[in-house]
Symmetry: C2
Subunit: 342 residues, 2 copies
Amino acid sequence: MPKITINDVSRVAGVSVATVDRVLNRRPGVRAQTVERVESAIRELNYQPDRLAARLARSRDIRFCFVLPAAHNSFAARLREEVTAIAEHMARERVTIDMRVTDVFAAASLTRMLEDVGREAYDGVAVVALDHPGVREAINSLTEQGVTVVTLVSDVPSSKRVHYAGIDNSAAGRTAASLLGRFAGGRSGKAGLIAGSTELRDHIERQFGFEQVIGHEFPKLKILPVRQVRDEPQRVEAAARAMLREHSDLIGIYHAGGGTQGLISALESEPKRKDLICIAHELTPHTRRALIKGTIAAVINQDPGHEARSAVRVLLAHAENVPLLMEQEHIRIGVFIRDNLP
Amino acid sequence: MPKITINDVSRVAGVSVATVDRVLNRRPGVRAQTVERVESAIRELNYQPDRLAARLARSRDIRFCFVLPAAHNSFAARLREEVTAIAEHMARERVTIDMRVTDVFAAASLTRMLEDVGREAYDGVAVVALDHPGVREAINSLTEQGVTVVTLVSDVPSSKRVHYAGIDNSAAGRTAASLLGRFAGGRSGKAGLIAGSTELRDHIERQFGFEQVIGHEFPKLKILPVRQVRDEPQRVEAAARAMLREHSDLIGIYHAGGGTQGLISALESEPKRKDLICIAHELTPHTRRALIKGTIAAVINQDPGHEARSAVRVLLAHAENVPLLMEQEHIRIGVFIRDNLP
DNA sequence: TTGAAAGCGCTAACAA
DNA sequence: TTGTTAGCGCTTTCAA
């Protein structure tokens, strides 16, 4: 069966290819009646547009903007690298990806950046979003301008973003709890919980999931009051040291945020507590080393490369109006121990 | 900077675009001297071919063939579904993917199928390969005919395949051992090991990795003699029942092969042994249910969707002579417990 | 509101 | 051994 083209559609509908193109891309300036004729021809022929030809013919590139954290931690750095990598890759295929960085924890500056981005005629925007009313408004306003928005790593569920490329953080917290509980093997004692900040939706969710599972499934473990450390290694370290000092029956620590180097330093300066079960997030050079050394028992991971590529695929599918393989776009909660490091 | 095209190259090299095209695609009929001139122009301009335009202009589709197991187990079925799904997806982009099934454990029939496939002018072949001399020969012969070959799920390392889309099975076995050992929490006892067959490279490797880690790290666990069950649920079940019957101090079971339903049945009919730690491979409806129910503690997974799509991307990159993001093509060893199920 | 026609960058048939 | 040229299926002026 020969491929059905826009020509076939135009012939069947009795109009020119230009008109079919206008209908296909929802461009204005076509009578409702004509639109109807074209659409029924499309249905009749089961026409599928050819995105390769479309990309080739467009005069300008498809343009996306990624708004990422400027932070100096390993995960943020890795995310920026991954975005840079696909940006280069996609540049060969008529897709331009710009990257902007800001302090995504500062709602005001993030909001402003999104507003700026809105003035630049991007086809799509991916943003590591803070769940804040101003940010939500900015996302919704982009959407209303016809810009496709996906959230990355951290979501704003109540906004009009079309997709969230990130993990289920409460499931991640539950996973950490199950591992810690099982590794404890029935012993009784305390479980420490360190988190970044209660303003970050993902950290709260992890904390919630963790408490839920420990409470229900491992009653022999008592969770210590959460320490807030704003992802700063020094503060993480101080919190961990305090826990170790104050609780001789400490069985394990779950660190739900960033700045894990601090945790590792604290642990490695306490050789007597070798059996402590520590679980942290994100595979980085630090946590990888700690896993191999045995300082950390397990790492819960989200793959920033997968997240970045997934965001691009989703934005692209929207820009070109073609279907996605959604199954591919689910971001897995990775569990790494010493033996399955990539 | 305007895009550099084949036209620019032809002008700089002082030849026609047809000649540049011949050089780019290594087609015969160009004097060595001319090839040299064109290549230096390409380097000078840093020309990057446009794969979209190339795909559009080709008269025939790019064609791949996937040779998959005909087996009736969930993993094989899932793999076939995933291949069917991308086949449909790629059909829209001028890529045809044919699928053939055979008993991949029967070296002779697999070899014959690969030979047949070789007569059909495919651009690339993906195969779930048995590590056998005949199969290796067939792969090498395809390669020599100019067909790109990638192995899928199970590798033939000594062959000329350009890529293996699958997991590191000995690392998978080590991961299973670490989890089992840690979940045992210092208890002493027996660890059962059930495997498919010693003819399958992946099963031997898993077994090897498992024994290595248990031996080195968990001396309190004694591994029982391996039971070979050829991935048949009934035989898996019989093996598990025998272990349970014969060893009252059985701490856990690692099932390295397929047919896990059998293991689950055996376990669920032995309610007194609730604390048994079982680890199996592949997330399927059966193992998912068993994880939720608590019958199985952890599942080591390879994502057949990722494997299938990765094979397609690798074949496509070779067919179009464009670069890959290799980082994306590494297949992870997934660890699933009840809490991080996708 | 619609149509005609010139590309987009490459491939491939055919001619030289 | 090399060159000319007509497409591939779509977008985008520009004209009607």
